[in-house]
Symmetry: C2
Subunit: 119 residues, 2 copies
């Protein structure tokens, strides 16, 4: 599945659905949030606490900066994480899960349980 986003396109060339799709708020929405190729890997890292861009890039084997940015942006737009920039030199940026993001934990846990049982 691919990721979708709102009409106003902040990200040239990425995450634009073929046709604007009305996402009914249910499984489809949940899958939109975690279904991306990298989403749950980023989330997994953030469950361990606040992380910086570089940290994420290093801990997620060879994700390109573009893919990481796209994924982070998509998660941010869906309100599961928060981006905070500190005006240091050079810039410092931190990513933290929101309560909505933390709450994904139960969902992910069910997935692990299912896989553990059947695979």
């Amino acid at each position: 599945m691919s990721l979708t986003e709102s009409k106003q396109n902040r990200h040239p060339g990425n995450y634009v659905p073929k046709q604007p799709v009305h996402i009914e708020c249910s499984i489809e929405k949940a899958l939109d949030v975690i279904g991306g190729k990298w989403s749950f890997l980023v989330l997994r890292e953030l469950f361990g606490g606040t992380k910086r861009f570089g940290e994420l890039q290093r801990s997620i084997s060879s994700i390109s900066p573009k893919s990481l940015t796209d994924t982070l942006r998509h998660l941010e737009e869906n309100g599961v994480l928060e981006r905070t920039a500190y005006p240091t030199v050079p810039v410092t940026v931190e990513y933290t899960l929101t309560p909505k993001g933390e709450d994904l934990h139960r969902m992910l846990k069910e997935m692990k349980l299912w896989a553990a049982k059947w695979c």
Copy 2:
């Protein structure tokens, strides 16, 4: 996300990962099963009981036969559904969830709960 499959390629041109990927048996595996564009829509139908190819095609808005076949095959390979063909004329084919497939229900339910709470 896209779907992945085993090395022996039964489906020309579809569901072939760019590089063969070792799927660790966890969230990744669960996402591989339900993460496809059509997978959970097919599953949703089958939770309501056994269905035939044509029924699925009609109830899932305008899915092409090719995509439906691909999705069903992928779900079958992952052991979440079973295909049964009856030698009638014309052919009758039924798709039914396996226990492994039925058990996806808890997972899907968690997704709905999350979405209901936060969206």
